[in-house]
């Protein structure tokens, strides 16, 4: 059954062990070969030994070192047979340690040996540590990367700390010496005998407690003011005018922005969220002249959205044709307001770190998130990968993946919102455009409203439209012929705008894609149930809404991102930094576990 002598193939060795397992990291790992003699493997994931004396000792070790960011690392080894003398060592070793020896004998090598139960800490002489182990026993080795210690378990019982001050980048290692020794390693493919989850829960609680009880000492008063300011600015940012005012009154703080301005923004946001993008553009142009003219990207995005909403039948340009004006698409299931969902969003923020443990897909290097990072231009934004924050809203909705997982895509769009707006704004700041607004808004510019009137008069009607008629069958542009014609005309205008932008700034892949996706809707008889139908989801309005909001705020010399979000981003970044500097505790200090 076992192959004899020295002839074993290396590929066999690599095939026999599965993954490193720990709660936070799933990293491919295998035990790699030791020396030419002695060790070979069977079909079963065992390690088998032929040696006779200490010169015949040989170790196998995992193909990857233990990642620091996993916090707590654990593996178990079952002694299938103790062979002749049971001279087995289980432990850790650094790269470059001689593999012809049992773990623990050499520098940067640590082991627990079965014959005498001693622990070997980079030394030929062991220290009395635990019981001996033999056939049938399951020995576990746990590396705690928070305090850099290691303890072993025997048959599910913790034997206490064996090593302290461990260096980083150790490899799980098993060494055998006498003939017939067979062991079987478990990196989590099977359930562990020791309750490692329970151990980790203790450390998670410890670290959470440490953070929660972080002493603030004398600065208690200061903190109070900072927190109030954070709440206040957050409310203002999102235009929760009444709440912000009430909060300011209760805490006796001041609001930077004046009421009218907040209400205006709120009004515009509501329009966008209700799918009435045309009106939103119009209101923006009235209230913030020059804003969109200087921000052609944003304008283009808005127009694209407007087109989508026309298809949807929600935009006022097509609604005016319809007898039954409000559309089902208006309805926001659950909450109609733009309320950011932190609990859901933050795991995604986390995942931006390349070496962050949860990182399940490549995503983006974290520094792209930085708010002060200026991108040279549009090209950079469009060149980044599809899941990059700077490639903004529509990329998300286009991917076929996201259509499959509707509930997720909604939230992930929300999350990219605040980050995405940064880069867009930066981009626009460098480019200059004019004439765009007139071009597309001639038809709309018929209003003679005063700002205040807009606010009062239409607030109610906005609300009404929402709930009503949500199960009525959906038809293109509300099923109205005139509206459809108007939509097609608008589409042509949009195409024109795109061409104009191309002439002025060169080709823009993002714009092109956006436009294509929007137009694709027309290719299907039922746009709501087509591969690009995701765009029609009211959730998709949130990104453009927040982009617009941020642009307005910035034009008023106000922060385009609320300090609260900045703080969350900073904390997230900090945890990622901890991961990079190999601080084990980072895996238990998740920002999202503090956001409820």
């Amino acid at each position: 059954m076992q192959s004899k002598g020295n002839n074993y193939s290396k590929s066999d060795l690599h095939s026999f062990l599965g993954n490193h397992h720990s709660r936070n990291a799933v990293i491919q790992n295998q035990l790699s070969q030791g020396k030419e003699g002695g060790i070979c493997c069977e079909d079963r994931p065992n390690i088998y030994c032929h040696g006779k004396n200490h010169k015949d000792a040989a170790s196998v070790r995992a193909t990857h070192p233990i990642p620091a960011a996993c916090g707590i690392y654990y593996f178990e080894v079952k002694i299938v047979s103790k062979g002749r003398d049971g001279y087995m060592g289980i432990g850790l070793s650094a790269q470059g340690v001689n593999m012809n020896r049992l773990p623990g004998w050499d520098k940067h090598s640590y082991g627990y040996h079965g014959d005498d139960g001693h622990s070997f800490c980079s030394s030929g002489t062991g220290q009395p540590y635990g019981p001996t182990f033999t056939t049938g026993d399951v020995i576990g080795c746990c590396v705690n990367l928070i305090n850099n210690t290691c303890f072993y378990t025997k048959n599910g019982i913790s034997l206490g700390v064996a090593f302290t001050d461990l260096p980083p980048n150790l490899y799980p290692t098993v060494g055998l010496q006498t003939p017939g020794e067979i062991v079987d390693a478990n990196f989590g493919q099977q359930p562990f005998v020791f309750d490692i989850e329970d151990y980790m829960s203790e450390w998670r609680a410890k670290i959470h407690g440490m953070i929660a009880r972080f002493p603030i000492g004398e600065r208690l008063g200061e903190w109070q003011a900072v927190l109030q300011n954070m709440v206040s600015t957050y409310l203002v940012h999102h235009g929760y005018c009444a709440t912000a005012t009430a909060f300011a009154r209760a805490t006796e703080t001041l609001i930077q922005e004046d009421q009218t301005s907040i209400k205006n923004r709120q009004r515009i946001q509501k329009l966008v969220l209700a799918g009435r993008v045309g009106e939103a553009i119009e209101a923006t142009q009235q209230l913030y002249p020059g804003l969109l003219e200087h921000n052609s990207n944003l304008l283009f995005m808005l127009k694209c959205r407007q087109f989508v909403e026309m298809v949807n039948g929600t935009d006022s340009e097509v609604r005016c044709f319809s007898v039954r004006s409000p559309k089902s698409q208006d309805s926001y299931p659950g909450s109609p307001s733009l309320s950011p969902r932190h609990g859901a969003t933050n795991p995604h923020l986390h995942s931006a770190g390349a070496d962050s443990p949860t990182c399940s897909n490549g995503v983006t290097p974290p520094n792209k998130n930085k708010s002060h990072n200026k991108y040279p231009g549009v090209s950079s934004a469009s060149s980044s990968s599809s899941s990059s924050p700077s490639s903004v809203n529509y990329s998300e909705s286009n991917s076929t993946d996201s259509t499959k997982s509707q509930p997720h895509s909604g939230t992930s769009n929300q999350e990219t919102r605040c980050v995405a707006s940064d880069s867009e704004m930066e981009i626009e700041a460098e480019h200059y455009t004019n004439g765009v607004a007139e071009n597309s808004s001639t038809r709309i510019m018929n209003g003679t409203y005063k700002h205040q009137e807009i606010l009062q008069a239409e607030d109610g009607s906005l609300g009404n439209g929402v709930a009503e008629d949500s199960c009525a069958s959906r038809q293109l542009c509300g099923g109205n012929q005139a509206a459809t014609e108007r939509m097609i005309q608008f589409g042509r205008e949009l195409q024109g705008l795109n061409e104009q932008l191309c002439r002025e700034y060169g080709k823009n892949a993002t714009h092109k894609k956006m436009l294509q996706d929007a137009f694709s809707l027309l290719a299907y008889s039922d746009p709501w149930n087509c591969p690009v139908g995701q765009q029609l989801d009211p959730m998709q309005r949130e990104n453009i809404c927040s982009a617009l909001n941020s642009a307005i705020l910035e034009s008023q010399n106000l922060p385009k991102q609320p300090p609260l979000m900045l703080a969350v981003g900073q904390a997230t970044e900090c945890v990622q930094l901890m991961a990079r500097v190999r601080s084990g505790s980072c895996s238990f200090a998740r920002v999202d576990s503090f956001l409820h």
């Binding site: 025997k154 206490g160 329970d198």
Partner: protein, 660 residues
């Protein structure tokens, strides 16, 4: 002071106002005045506020608001010093409050329960007061479902008032388990915790409760699973520790097997963690004591615990309080350390005792722990009786090791403090100490000599006169060990000191153990021929009498066997032989036992005869003839055909002497 009393007086006066509205306002003002003010509380009590409040409380005419406020004030008064509680109890507050529980108003009931809780958790309140009225417990049980607050208060009352097996039974019979079990999954942590505490008190050393608990289901889960979930490491320590206690008590009562996963992989490791340096001193004490209790009867658990998280070394830290650091840096810390130092030491000794009670390797590990023997030696002479007792228990556990007796026990002269401890100690310490001494007096123990020289005989003899059977056994056992292969001088001293009268009193002791060890002592005394002859010459008559008495009495096989062995020893003497040969009654008895159905007794009796007919120079012919006359030869013949090889062999040897 005068002024304070004056204002207090004013508060009390207002309770007597004719207008009920004014009285209510008065009570509310009083409530606000006493909160956190111990002096004010004392004043009001002295000025007689309590009886008036109780009157208002019990008055049917009082509004429910007034009555509630009265209870709140009383509860506040109870929060003060122990003297306050005493005064309240003396004013019969308990029956008044219990009476109040009959009222339908939940707010009022909760106030009453809160106040009762405060009174009952005080150590000065006699817990019996809860049980005097038999309707109280059932009523409390029925109130458990009213609100989380009633659950919290009532379980606290139960936990503190359940101090004896009788109390456990009362609560059990009124359905405590069924009523409290659902609270273990309450949303409120407080309620969960109090319910858990209540179970730990109910299950302690109570088989009936434990056996019931193990079958209780809470929301589809077995109670033991619920407890195991409460052992999770991220939960508060208090909860982990109390859940571990519940499981420990259930295990000790036999409701959970000692090899069950929930004991081996959950409860035991949790208790070991409670002993770690990171825990508070109180938690470490409780953890160690509970762990000691858990594994006391089970060697496998002892073995597992001995390798878990370096427990043996971890316990050494229990002896380092107050630490030198605490003395210098922080007077508060020093005070705290000092308070717990005794508790820590006794807990560690208990746990060591439990760990080392069966396994030789563990004992070795313990004695090799830093300064362990020195610590035991100094523990034996500590002022705290608890520490002395635990230390001697630990020593006793370790004294079961032959190797340790030969080495560390001798090196550290443990017999010295042990002897000192034996001089005047309470019985429980004496039992342990004398039991340890028994082991130290084993013939291979190097401590035996110095102990003998220290005049231990008198002490042991006085122990044999104790009222406690355990002490009598240990006393006589030690003497027995001492007499084993001892020289004439020691034996003489034992006989002299004990006195024949006491010896024979012990031979009629109601405790079989005492009787067995006394016979053992006699047997050890009657060994080697010169000793036999000498003792029999001086005490022969009484000994023969005693032997006859025992052989005629209703005794176990073991006792009779031991007695026959004594006769065999006597028969081995030169002059002592005659005492048997001239006693036909005894010879008939020996004959009877040679034909007994029990092979052991047959063997012992044959031994005796064999000694009598032993062919040496002198008068053996005469004896042989007499025995032949009595028909012993025929019996021996028969016995040579016996099934038991030993008996057969012995009979054959005896026959050979006849032939010679």
């Amino acid at each position: 002071m005068q002024e304070v009393t004056a204002t207090s007086r004013h508060y009390v006066d207002r309770l007597f106002h004719p207008d009920p509205q004014k009285v209510l306002q008065g009570v509310i003002d009083m409530k606000n005045a006493v909160i956190g003010n111990n002096k004010q509380k004392a004043n009001l009590i002295v000025l007689g506020a309590v009886p008036r409040l109780l009157y208002l409380l019990q008055q049917g005419l009082s509004s429910s608001e007034l009555r509630t406020e009265c209870v709140v004030v009383l509860g506040s008064l109870a929060m003060g010093t122990e003297n306050n509680i005493k005064s309240l109890v003396d004013c019969h507050i308990i029956p008044a409050l219990l009476q109040g529980l009959v009222c339908p108003d939940l707010v009022f009931i909760e106030a009453c329960l809160r106040c009762l809780r405060t009174v009952f958790i005080s150590p000065v309140t006699p817990v019996q007061l809860l049980y005097t009225d038999p309707t109280v417990i059932p009523h409390l049980m029925s109130l458990l479902s009213r609100s989380p607050r009633t659950q919290d208060y009532i379980t606290q009352i139960f936990s503190h008032c359940c101090k004896s097996p009788e109390h456990q039974t009362v609560l059990f019979n009124h359905g405590a388990i069924q009523n409290i079990a659902p609270m273990l999954i309450s949303l409120s942590y407080k309620v969960r915790m109090q319910a858990l505490k209540c179970f730990s008190v109910l299950a302690y050393e109570n088989t009936q409760v434990s056996m019931t608990l193990v079958n209780v289901l809470v929301d589809g889960d077995l109670l033991s699973q619920v407890f195991v979930r409460m052992l999770q490491r991220n939960l508060p320590i208090e909860m982990q520790l109390t859940a571990a206690k519940c499981l420990t008590y259930m295990c000790r009562a036999g409701a959970i097997r000692t090899d069950d996963r929930c004991i081996v992989l959950k409860t035991l490791p949790c208790l070991v963690r409670m002993c770690s340096k990171e825990r508070l001193l109180e938690e470490r004490v409780e953890g160690a004591e509970t762990l000691a209790y858990l594994m006391e009867p089970d060697v496998e658990l002892q073995r597992i615990a001995s390798v878990t998280d370096h427990l043996v070394a971890m316990l050494a830290d229990y002896f380092k309080y107050p630490s030198s650091v605490s003395a210098i840096t922080d007077i508060k810390r020093l005070d705290h350390d000092l308070k717990h130092a005794h508790e820590l030491r006794q807990a560690a000794f208990k746990l060591y005792a439990s760990l080392g009670s069966n396994d030789e390797d563990i004992r070795k590990k313990i004695t090799e722990t830093e300064n362990m023997m020195d610590r035991i030696v100094s523990g034996l002479s500590e002022s705290s009786i608890k520490v002395r007792l635990a230390a001697v228990r630990c020593l006793h556990s370790l004294s079961r090791s032959v190797q340790q007796l030969r080495t560390s026990f001798h090196d550290h002269a443990v017999w010295k403090p042990l002897m000192k401890l034996l001089q005047n100690a309470p019985d429980e310490v004496l039992v342990m100490a004398s039991s340890t001494l028994c082991n130290l007096l084993l013939e291979f123990s190097p401590s035996k000599e110095p102990i003998l020289e220290s005049g231990v005989v008198e002490l042991l003899c006085s122990l044999t006169q104790s009222d406690s059977p355990a002490l009598r056994v240990n006393g006589i056992w030690a003497l027995m060990n001492m007499a084993f292969q001892a020289d004439q001088k020691v034996k003489g001293e034992i006989v002299r000191a004990l006195g024949t009268e006491q010896l024979f009193r012990l031979l009629s002791d109601p405790d079989t153990n005492v009787l067995m060890k006394t016979l053992g002592l006699l047997r050890n005394l009657l060994s080697t021929r010169p000793h036999i002859d000498q003792i029999m010459s001086s005490h022969g008559k009484q000994i023969m009498q005693a032997v006859t008495l025992i052989l005629e009495g209703e005794h176990s096989i073991e006792v009779k066997e031991q007695t026959l062995c004594i006769l065999a020893n006597i028969a081995d003497g030169n002059t002592a032989k005659e005492l048997i040969m001239t006693n036909d009654d005894i010879l008939q008895k020996i004959k009877y036992y040679m034909g007994h159905s029990n092979a052991k007794l047959q063997l012992a009796a044959t031994f005796c005869i064999s000694n009598l007919i032993w062919n040496e120079e002198g008068s053996c012919q005469e004896r042989q003839d007499k025995l032949r006359e009595l028909g012993f030869v025929d019996i021996l013949h028969k016995l040579t055909q016996a099934l038991d090889p030993n008996l057969c062999e012995r009979a054959k040897t005896a026959m050979q002497h006849y032939l010679a």
